[in-house]
């Protein structure tokens, strides 16, 4: 029982790899480092060999500007790179080139916002800043991290371009955090700058405090689902401390997804003083209005715009429009289908419920679907004409999705609605004869009728019209009653 309603404040720090880039951030080494032999996608620059110097990737700046525009940010005119110093084996120069928001330094953009739709209403989540920075390498261990006598470093990832997006602590529940991340990923996907499904391309640090207490940071969570779980757990953990009269300490924790708990991270022995200063190897970048305009021209229709358009063009409500749009491939599929079929609400409903569910269940790759818009169009048209029933739609759908089978063909093979009363009646009688106990049950308890319906459906392989079937069963039962 909650005596106090804790005021939950959640802020997120998201690191996104710009996976669409061909090369790394500061050198021309190929950026497709996944599943490559270790230390084969490296060069003197991303290894931090003595005497090497960074050279900035233009496309990375374009992408960063595009994100800044999509998140409604203020662009900074001058982009200054700083060195952030800390010692760690995965950081070749023992400093990371990034930006810092302090006196005289500038991130690429700041003060933006993202609109999320949650619990039937709109909410703004503010964006504090966006930084461009480089990824460190990857550390592996012999066995577990505690017992490994040494570590093994793969520098393939070192120097990959990252975008750091930091929000204000505007989210008030794990659900809101989830909604925000879903929206953010949709925006990034629409911009075509990253594929967040790639391993390691998307990492979240979450900051959470309750009832105005100290802020706890949970580092390096790898998926939206885990973020929601971690935050849910952490709120409970903090509430328990407060309830027992304690104080939540300012802390940095790690989310253990297998155990489902956050655990404190090892404290660092040495002083965490990053000693930021502007990188003397990189003069400031003047981001001109022309540059921004050129990028703006290339920015495609973004989720918010598309949601608005779906609401206008297809007369969908905000909820349906949002669900579709936030899953880009689904919205694309919807629009292709909508060219040929104009009961948009019906179509949307089908797509965001059963259709989507089956795609997920079969673990299909949305980029390589066998099912085409035309299949869904035909399916719905048959439903509308009454050739098939809703139940049959639900039965046919998985087959169509999995194999891309044409509904026309299936119908020709006899998959039509059995409507003729006599046919149904014959089958009902058959069932009743085979199942006398069911009949007596149904006479006493009207609900037991469903068993008979089920048997009829089984015999007709679902083709019998359900309402007609019930009608006929009731009629026949009446006959039984009067007879006996």
């Amino acid at each position: 029982m909650d005596l106090i309603k804790p005021e939950v404040k959640i802020g997120l720090e998201i690191h996104v790899q710009l996976t669409a880039l061909k090369t790394k951030l500061f050198c021309s080494t190929p950026a497709d480092y996944r599943s490559r032999e270790p230390n084969t996608h490296v060069c003197p620059v991303c290894l931090g060999l003595p005497g090497t110097l960074p050279v900035l990737n233009r496309k990375a700046v374009e992408y960063a500007v595009a994100v800044a525009l999509a998140l409604n940010c203020e662009m900074n005119e001058k982009l200054i790179f700083v060195r952030k110093h800390y010692f760690y084996p995965d950081l070749p120069k023992n400093y990371q080139i990034s930006q810092y928001d302090g006196v005289g330094f500038t991130s690429i953009a700041k003060n933006g916002y993202v609109r999320i739709y949650i619990d039937g209403r709109s909410k703004i989540i503010r964006i504090r800043r966006i930084n461009i920075e480089e990824d460190p390498g990857k550390i592996q261990y012999i066995g577990s991290i505690e017992t490994s006598p040494y570590s093994l470093i793969d520098y393939n990832r070192s120097g990959i371009a990252l975008l750091e997006i930091v929000t204000e602590p505007d989210m008030e529940s794990p659900k809101e955090a989830k909604a925000f991340l879903e929206k953010l990923i949709a925006i990034l996907e629409y911009l075509n700058i990253t594929d967040t499904s790639l391993e390691g391309a998307f990492r979240v640090d979450a900051n959470i405090s309750i009832a105005g207490g100290s802020r706890v940071e949970i580092k390096n969570i790898g998926s939206i689902k885990e973020v929601e779980k971690a935050l849910t757990y952490e709120i409970i953990r903090q509430k328990r401390i407060v309830e027992l009269g304690g104080e939540v300490r300012r802390d940095t924790r790690h989310w253990d997804s297998s155990k489902g708990v956050t655990i404190p991270m090892r404290s660092k022995e040495y002083e965490e003083d990053y000693r930021y200063f502007p990188d003397p190897d990189l003069p400031p970048l003047i981001v001109t209005k022309e540059f921004i305009e050129l990028v703006a021209k290339k920015v495609p229709e973004l989720p918010d715009e598309r949601i608005e358009r779906f609401m206008k063009q297809y007369k969908l409500d905000e909820y349906r429009a949002s669900v579709l749009v936030l899953i880009k491939w689904l919205a694309d599929f919807f629009e292709e289908t909508a060219k040929m079929y104009n009961n948009y609400k019906k179509l949307a409903d089908l797509l965001i419920t059963d259709f989507l569910r089956w795609i997920k269940e079969f673990e299909l790759d949305p980029r390589n679907l066998k099912v085409q818009p035309i299949h869904i169009v035909k399916l719905l048209q048959y439903l509308d004409k009454g050739v098939i029933s809703i139940k049959m739609v639900k039965e046919l759908l998985p087959k169509i999705i999995k194999e891309g089978v044409d509904v026309e063909k299936m119908v020709q093979e006899g998959y039509t609605k059995i409507d003729e009363e006599t046919l149904i009646e014959n089958i009902v009688r058959e069932v009743m004869k085979e199942n006398p106990k069911a009949v007596t049950d149904a006479l006493e308890n009207p609900k037991a009728l469903n068993f008979i319906v089920g048997m009829v459906m089984k015999k007709t392989r679902g083709r019998a019209d359900p309402s007609k079937t019930v009608e006929i069963i009731k009629k026949l039962l009446e006959e039984y009653k009067t007879r006996s």
């Binding site: 003197p44 290894l47 931090g48 060999l49 003595p50 005497g51 090497t52 110097l53 960074p54 050279v55 900035l56 060195r83 110093h85 010692f87 760690y88 084996p89 070749p92 120069k93 023992n94 400093y95 006598p149 040494y150 570590s151 470093i153 520098y155 022995e269 040495y270 003083d273 000693r275 200063f277 003397p280 190897d281 990189l282 003069p283």
Partner: protein
């Protein structure tokens, strides 16, 4: 012809006519080196004669086949050991990099090789270029060929000593606070620090990134200009490299030399006043030759002493950052580290690998960048730097160049400076301004005092190396202190 003392511009001509003479040249040079290197200790790594001869023979083959003219064909160059040379050990005179072999060439090295130059060895220096006497080298100090009890200067002391002893025809050095000009002055050779951004830093193992420049060192102005022609120019691998059209320095130097424009020369008042008497007198002699033709006026140089402080704050800060990367993991000094934590291993390596002066500067650099002190020291030093730059913009509106003694003192005895590091820091007072504002500056021999060399420094506006070379040649022609090789 005496191959050992011959200037490069003469050798280039000779090899043009008879390329096969390169082999004899190299052999003579190596004879010289083997007879005196023990006394001078200019080199950290000297390539084997066989390898050099093979390389020369290869060059001859290439020359026969291609029609491309190689501007430095066959010329033996000594390269300061903080410039990356592929496959040749590059140590920065530090235990930390004692066995480091770069897998790539610095841009300037690629350029030199493209023009047919032969890199015969890597020269001694102060460790990581931090010093003014080549005494902080982890291996051994170099000696001044003019007086073996004295230092040849630093941090490019090895390159300068090699030139003055006839152990190389030309050399490359690097200059962060005077490290080319200082040893040039102390060895009666010529050394030029180019405008910041004129020569690529890619491959130069960084000390202070906003101050470092690679520059040519030679025994006369012509060679300096020819060498600068090859190494200067925009490099897309160096984001601080400036994209401007690079003139033919050699040709332009001669154009001016024959045109003989009369220039306005500023004589740095305080820098002369604060120099040792004998140094002052000798430097003035060179100045007199200039002022007999050009228009000379005394100009007050603002904040000379504070410039030293600002220089060291900035240099140490950047050094602490640039040297953070040395932890033995990807390259460098190794220790047995199984089952030891990285913090301890890093600390051990960095304590063993760095000498005291380097450790001091790295630690102080971290200090001025740290929380609470950043505003007090580093930020203020940068404000000072802008103020200084504006001051000199003003001064350079009135004058073409500013001259001063390169160093306020004579070459120090070995061990003298190590006693008093602050004295050593302040000895940089004449040279650091050019680094702080990024302007080009040269040291040319001005004279000798009791057998010890004195240099004159000429500093000019951005990208006006031509004027500097012109005046250097002007002095050279007047007092004939060029192509000097010490009697070792």
């Amino acid at each position: 012809m005496d191959f050992v003392s011959a200037p490069m511009y003469k050798l280039v001509e000779v090899f043009e006519n008879d390329p096969n003479l390169v082999v004899e040249y190299i052999n003579k040079l190596y004879d010289r080196i083997s007879s005196i290197e023990d006394k001078i200790k200019a080199y950290i790594t000297l390539r084997r004669l066989n390898d050099i001869i093979s390389e020369a023979e290869n060059l001859l083959k290439i020359r026969k086949k291609s029609c491309k003219k190689m501007r430095l064909f066959g010329i033996a160059i000594a390269v300061k050991d903080n410039i990356s040379t592929k496959g040749i050990r590059t140590t920065c005179a530090s235990r930390m990099l004692e066995n480091y072999v770069p897998p790539f060439d610095a841009t300037v090295i690629t350029k030199l090789k493209d023009e047919g130059a032969i890199i015969i060895g890597k020269t001694n220096m102060d460790e990581f270029a931090m010093g003014s006497t080549t005494e902080t080298s982890a291996f051994y100090p170099s000696r001044n060929p003019w007086d073996s009890t004295r230092s040849p200067g630093g941090s490019s002391g090895g390159s300068a000593a090699a030139l003055a002893a006839g152990e190389a025809t030309v050399a490359l050095g690097s200059d962060t606070g005077g490290s080319i000009r200082n040893p040039a002055a102390f060895t009666a050779t010529f050394g030029l620090k180019p405008t910041y951004g004129l020569v690529s830093r890619y491959g130069l193992i960084a000390y202070a990134s906003s101050l470092d420049q690679i520059g040519p060192m030679a025994r006369n102005s012509d060679d300096l200009a020819l060498l600068l022609n090859v190494i200067a120019g925009y490099d897309s691998k160096d984001s601080t490299s400036i994209d401007i059209a690079v003139p033919d320095f050699y040709k332009s130097m001669y154009d001016l030399f024959y045109k003989e424009p009369r220039l306005r020369i500023g004589i740095a008042k305080e820098l002369f006043e604060e120099s040792d008497e004998l140094v002052k007198k000798t430097a003035y002699q060179a100045v007199d030759t200039l002022c007999s033709y050009h228009e000379c006026n005394e100009v007050s140089i603002p904040y000379a002493k504070q410039s030293v402080a600002a220089y060291y704050i900035i240099a140490m800060a950047e050094a602490s950052s640039n040297l953070a990367r040395y932890d033995g993991v990807r390259y460098g000094l190794k220790v047995d580290f199984e089952n030891k934590s990285w913090i301890d291993v890093y600390r051990d390596i960095r304590t063993m690998g760095y000498g005291y002066e380097v450790k001091k500067r790295v630690a102080l650099g971290a200090y001025v960048l740290s929380m609470g002190y950043w505003d007090m020291y580093y930020l203020r030093a940068l404000k000072f730097r802008r103020m200084l730059k504006e001051e000199f913009n003003r001064i350079f509106h009135q004058y073409n160049v500013i001259v001063s003694p390169t160093m306020p003192i004579l070459p120090p005895k070995l061990g003298e400076f190590l006693e008093d590091p602050i004295k050593m820091y302040y000895a940089d007072v004449n040279t650091i301004t050019a680094n702080l504002i990024g302007a080009p500056a040269i040291s040319a021999p001005a004279g000798f005092v009791n057998g010890l060399p004195v240099g004159l420094q000429i500093m000019a506006r951005y990208f006006d190396e031509i004027t500097i070379l012109y005046l250097s040649k002007f002095i050279e022609e007047s007092i004939k202190l060029r192509d000097l090789i010490a009697p070792v």
